[in-house]
Symmetry: C2
Subunit: 327 residues, 2 copies
């Protein structure tokens, strides 16, 4: 059987089974946003994320600065999603020999800008030649209280930290533009949308900012960052916690910019919000009585995943979102 028939989720299950044996000190192993190990300093978080040209990014509409920035954001987001703070970053860079040194400089400028924003230190890595650009980073972090994907209880409320679908709408804009939007760019918008709408959505896609959990980490019962889409990432939370969830379409935060772009491109705003990936907002659960500054979108149930539409009709849904290897 091929990976394209198995899909990413079953592949990860296979890997989990193969390396299930837990050594002393492992608090959270394979399958969460970060692995967590115990140390005398508290909990050490470890995570790694790849970005492959043609899969995760397209240099025809993304600058190398933006790419470097995003690489750091997606790695830091994994640490935030466990309730932690990032400390150190290792970088892997594979690039073709005819790649310009100035382009690599731009990439590292983006990495440096994001590293400064998140106060994380780049301390090592590896470089290799390759026929196409491939990046990965490994990040370490620390946390007093670790919030894993498991832990949601029936009756807990479901929250997100901000508007969803913006990054997916930004991708629609970029696919139409077929070139990067540079921050200093002025003049006519390159698509039939107001210039600031274009800028906002494109930036959400190419330079997402990881959301710091701050006080959320103290009360959340489970948490994940939305990298592949609300429904698929919510289904992961539910699977780990052996629970279900009901969410309300009318409560899902959607920006005016995203709704406007959906209209112009003939897409469903709700669909972008439910299944669009790469928003890197935090999705978490907390007990009813907890005080939380985030947008409540639903509640945890015994089993299944359902979306209640604007008219109050509940319908079961299949998790949809980005899955590697899937056709």
């Amino acid at each position: 059987m091929k990976l394209s028939e198995t899909g990413e989720l079953r592949l990860i299950d296979m890997i989990r089974k193969k390396f299930r044996k837990k050594a002393a000190g492992i608090v959270v192993g394979i399958g969460d946003d970060c692995a967590v190990v115990k140390s005398r300093d508290g909990h050490v978080l470890l995570s790694t994320d790849m970005m492959v040209e043609g899969v995760h990014f397209d240099l025809s509409w993304m600058t190398l600065f933006q790419l470097g920035f995003k690489l750091v954001s997606v790695n830091v987001s994994d640490v935030y999603a466990m309730g932690g703070r990032p400390d150190y970053l290792l970088l892997n860079l594979a690039a073709p020999g005819d790649f310009q040194v100035s382009a690599v400089e731009e990439l590292f400028d983006g990495i440096a800008a994001a590293s400064a924003l998140y106060r994380v230190s780049v301390i090592g890595g590896d470089v290799s030649s390759s026929d196409r650009l491939m990046l990965s980073a490994a990040v370490t972090g620390h946390a007093d209280r670790v919030v894993s994907r498991a832990g949601a209880g029936v009756g807990d409320l479901v929250y997100v930290t901000g508007s969803l679908g913006d990054a997916a709408a930004g991708l629609l804009v970029l696919k139409r533009m077929k070139r990067p939007l540079r921050p200093e760019e002025a003049g006519e918008a390159p698509v039939p949308l107001a210039r600031d709408v274009v800028r906002t959505l494109v930036e959400r896609h190419v330079m997402p900012k990881a959301v710091r959990p701050d006080r959320i980490a103290a009360v959340a019962t489970s948490m994940i960052d939305i990298s592949d889409g609300l429904l698929i990432d919510l289904s992961r939370l539910c699977a780990e916690g052996r629970v279900g969830a009901r969410i309300y379409a009318a409560k899902i935060p959607m920006s005016e910019e995203m709704k406007r772009a959906a209209e112009v491109f003939g897409a469903s705003a709700l669909e972008l919000a439910l299944s669009g990936g790469e928003d890197y907002q935090l999705l978490f659960t907390a007990p009813k009585e907890a005080k939380v500054r985030a947008v409540r979108i639903g509640e945890i149930t015994r089993a299944g995943l359902e979306v209640v539409d604007a008219e109050g009709r509940a319908a079961p849904v299949e998790p949809r979102g980005y899955e590697h290897f899937a056709d």
Copy 2:
């Protein structure tokens, strides 16, 4: 300017300069086998290494089991080269969608076998689709006494832990065979060399075993693992320590198998030992008075790199070995 004109070493220098700012807690930053940070548990070592199809390996003559094993070995070797012990491993796997699940299983079996050998736990990672196979791992470790690349003093002796050039000779054999050598294989040797010679050399290339420093770590003044070749890795030790080195051709340990293969393939055994990469032996320096169980090959000088031939003639040499992006 292109990366192919700059070369790997200057690229790493550029990266080092860009991320020079040291945060508190960083003991060793970019440019050594591992980064080292302080924790209450002692020193934490962090490293990462990539393996790209067509650059680091060729599946036409390497099995996926061997590849998985080697990925772990090269990462663990970086920890050993700092005098440490490995703890945890994160894996990144990018593979084409038409890759067979059974092939991925074989890859993970190799990773599991090596992880058991080195007592390191796989605790996380990332998977992605890609047009070709790309692997990377990040490893963490710990050490009481860290041995960096810097620290060799003039007059220190230079040692290696075992024979050099075996992996390079194994690669020559594989390039001639154009297929993997499976461990269970019997019958006629596929090249004009005795079967056990073929097996020994091929195994050194496809399944190198990282060398544990043990008591070396307590006395070494500087250390590196030989991944790209003796001369290039020795020149790195010298550059970091701002010293030179003189080594004696007659003292460089070479296996009978390697010398026999060099003869058959019309290659220079000394050249393979000096510039062949991927032996993953440790190269280190220690004070004259230190008791060391390893092969002494030379001494540290004020500056320059020279090789003394069998007749006692010293000649300056340029570091030769594997460099990414170089033509």
